[in-house]
């Protein structure tokens, strides 16, 4: 990436800038190490030249999946987190496309294992179901049960301070221009297009629930609980963890986007996300651009995006 732009106003910025000269927004520096040192300050053996700790650039820090021109996903550790606790999985079965994004819950133990286990098992279950020609809604519910079991079986030491491994999950099966979406938690699905962009899921979060019950969003956002998730995959989740479900008919050209909150925390509105995405581009390019946007905005959390693009 030779030219960098301020994500807020688009002004051209250089690598050494800490603030945009035009609008004053802070520009995220590429921090390779927890101590704040840049990626360039990590030596060949993974040791940070500033704080000395070993920070090898692990495979999971940034990985990309590209099944074909229209289906891709990118997961990135972001700038501040010491490891990537997100995971994603994609599959194509005959003419069905499958997308899964999971975000390990940081306050639980081994969130990175939880998200990986959930994403892979859910994707495998969905793939098997679509191979058998199952109904997408039924397949989704079964996949969530399977993934939930796998996450619950992750061995962990349970104590007062440790929540067992937990993760969010959002899945999509797209068949014949119909997307069947299931979710638990606050990872989201969006439809992005020139017109009619919309968020397809509603977060399982304290914020959503109190606003639905009548509190204003401004008030709700003041509470420290506002980011709490009310439903998830994990040993201490409610037993009736039936996923949220929605069907969506693809109207025309555009992108079906699944993402973790590492992205939407910087651009919650569908229209904004649509604006950031390049139009008529390959799925992988769209993913990379969205991830870069999140990193440039501060990258405070892991960022995962999966995109299925529609040309018409």
């Amino acid at each position: 990436m030779s030219e960098m732009h301020c994500f807020k106003c688009g002004f051209v910025v250089t690598e050494s800038d800490r603030f945009c000269e035009e609008c004053g927004t802070a520009i995220a520096k590429e921090a390779g190490c927890e101590c704040g040192a840049g990626v360039k300050e990590i030596d060949g053996d993974g040791y940070c030249l500033n704080c000395g700790f070993r920070r090898e650039l692990k495979q999971r820090d940034h990985f990309e999946v590209s099944l074909h021109l229209s289906l891709a996903g990118v997961s990135d550790r972001g700038l501040k987190h010491h490891r990537n606790e997100d995971y994603l999985a994609l599959a194509t079965v005959n003419d069905s496309q499958i997308l899964v994004v999971c975000d390990g819950i940081s306050s639980s133990t081994q969130p990175d294992v939880a998200s990986q286990v959930a994403a892979i098992s859910a994707c495998e279950a969905l793939t098997a179901a679509m191979q058998r020609g199952e109904n997408p809604e039924f397949a989704t519910k079964t996949a969530f049960t399977v993934a939930g079991k796998y996450v619950c079986n992750i061995p962990s030491t349970v104590s007062i301070n440790n929540e067992p491994p937990s993760t969010t999950i959002v899945t999509a099966i797209v068949q014949d221009r119909t997307a069947t979406i299931g979710w638990l938690g606050d990872s989201r699905a969006y439809w992005l297009a020139d017109t009619g962009s919309r968020q397809l899921t509603t977060d399982d979060s304290w914020l959503t629930e109190v606003v639905a019950a009548g509190m204003t969003e401004e008030m709700a956002k003041l509470s420290p609980k506002c980011h709490s998730i009310t439903r998830w995959l994990g040993a201490d989740a409610n037993d009736d963890a039936a996923p949220g479900m929605v069907n969506f008919t693809i109207p025309g050209s555009g992108y079906l986007l699944l993402c973790s909150d590492g992205l939407w925390n910087y651009a919650a509105e569908a229209e904004k996300l649509a604006k950031i995405s390049p139009s008529g581009a390959e799925a992988l390019i769209v993913c990379r651009q969205l991830v870069e946007f999140a990193r440039n905005s501060g990258g405070h959390d892991n960022i995962s995006v999966a995109v299925l693009s529609f040309a018409t």
Partner: protein, 424 residues
């Protein structure tokens, strides 16, 4: 060609919360493919000799004889000079190549040396500095001989001159007889990266001078620095050379840039081997974290161009495995013991000098025990001149009632000599 090899000895595993990292770095030079010496390969050897009144008689005869021997032994491609001094310095022979003509002239000049006057060492060093500055690219080594104490009036001047000499040339100091003060010469030698020793009798001067000359002529690479990088929040508790003898380099650190310091190590010759003990305090990590606690490299600079010779990593890994973290690296333990040994001798001798028999006995007894445990026979032998050993492994000793000054001074000067770790 000199081939430098460096090796780190340490137990990199630390218990949770531990902050102190210890490592021994062994650097050896062997013949073979490797670093070339200073381009010109020029060596300058300077003799700095006391000719104060007290040197009169057989001492000055012995010194003149030894100097002549040194001059005749000089290799033809080496350079040399001779400076004598009392209250003033005198250039007996200026910096010149050791051709047969120059050697002849020097020998003649040596014959005219006489002893009289006081002792103002600063003047001698200042003159030597002037001579050395004529050959800035060469490997510059000097030998200083005195028989007495520097005049008190000269102390401040001496410090000023030493500051100017630091980094320009190295100097080995020798005291003949027992009227000189060990700390005085050690002060000079420490600043000028040299050794100190006693020459008990004038008749031994010649042999000692020859040894020093041979060592100087074996030096290939000059101005070698030990460069240490540490992480940002780390603190270097100490950096000591621990072999062949103990030299605390901690306060010689020169900051190159944030987190990087250089310790001067002077010139290195063929077949040399030195060990360094690093002790670094770091911010502890969590169990499982790995850290690069330090990076030590050896490098030399010629004409502003830096050449790195070796590079070693000092690591720290935090663990909850007691078996891993409580193992003491043998080499670190050995040198920690040797340093303790040297300290016990120093403090023991100080206690003895002020008449504190009980403390002296206890400390010198501890020294005997440590010397025995580490197989440091040289030091044990020196200790035997000052104490009667009743039980070496237990460290039970008795102070000798009569101790010759020369023996006490020999122990004092050589207490910093260490042994290498005994093969188990």
């Amino acid at each position: 060609m000199s081939n430098f090899k460096a090796e780190i000895f340490q137990n990199q595993f630390l218990p949770q919360g531990s902050r102190e990292v210890n490592a021994i770095m062994t650097i050896s030079v062997e013949d073979g493919e490797g670093i070339t010496a200073t381009p010109s390969n020029n060596r300058v050897f300077g003799v700095i000799c006391d000719t104060s009144g007290s040197m009169g008689g057989n001492k000055i005869h012995a010194v003149k004889y030894a100097m002549s021997k040194v001059v005749s032994l000089l290799p033809e491609d080496a350079y040399f000079f001779i400076v004598t001094g009392s209250s003033r310095a005198n250039v007996v022979y200026p910096v010149s190549q050791a051709t047969s003509l120059h050697k002849q002239q020097a020998l003649a000049a040596i014959k005219n040396i006489t002893a009289n006057g006081g002792t103002l060492i600063s003047t001698w060093l200042a003159q030597a500095l002037a001579e050395f500055q004529k050959m800035p690219q060469a490997v510059r080594q000097a030998l200083l001989l005195t028989d007495g104490q520097n005049d008190d009036s000269d102390s401040q001047k001496l410090d000023t001159v030493l500051q100017a000499c630091e980094g320009v040339f190295q100097c080995d100091c020798r005291g003949v007889g027992t009227d000189w003060r060990v700390p005085q010469l050690q002060h000079i030698a420490s600043k000028l990266l040299g050794t100190t020793d006693i020459i008990p009798d004038a008749s031994m001067i010649e042999a000692d001078f020859q040894a020093i000359l041979a060592k100087a002529m074996s030096k290939d690479v000059s101005d070698v620095s030990l460069r240490l990088w540490t992480p940002q929040s780390a603190k270097v508790l100490f950096c000591k050379q621990v072999s062949p003898d103990i030299v605390d380099l901690t306060h010689r650190a020169k900051t190159i840039k944030p987190q990087v310091v250089d310790y001067p190590t002077g010139a290195w010759g063929k077949q040399e081997s030195r060990d360094y003990h690093f002790c670094i305090e770091v911010n502890p990590g969590n169990v499982g974290d790995e850290m690069l606690a330090g990076r030590a490299s050896l490098l030399y600079t010629i004409n502003g161009v830096e050449t790195k010779i070796t590079d070693s990593r000092i690591l720290a890994t935090w663990t909850d495995d007691d078996v891993k973290s409580t193992k003491l690296d043998r080499t670190v333990a050995h040198y920690t013991g040797q340093a303790e040994l040297a300290q016990s001798i120093q403090e023991g001798l100080e206690a003895r000098a002020r008449g504190d028999v009980e403390v002296a006995t206890s400390l010198l007894g501890k020294a005997v025990k440590l010397a025995h445990e580490s197989g440091n026979e040289g030091t044990t032998k020196l200790l035997k001149t000052v104490v009667d050993i009743q039980d070496a492994p237990e460290g039970t000793v008795r102070l000798k009632r009569e101790v010759a000054d020369v023996d006490a001074m020999a122990l004092e000067t050589r207490s910093t000599k260490t042994t290498r770790i005994p093969k188990s």
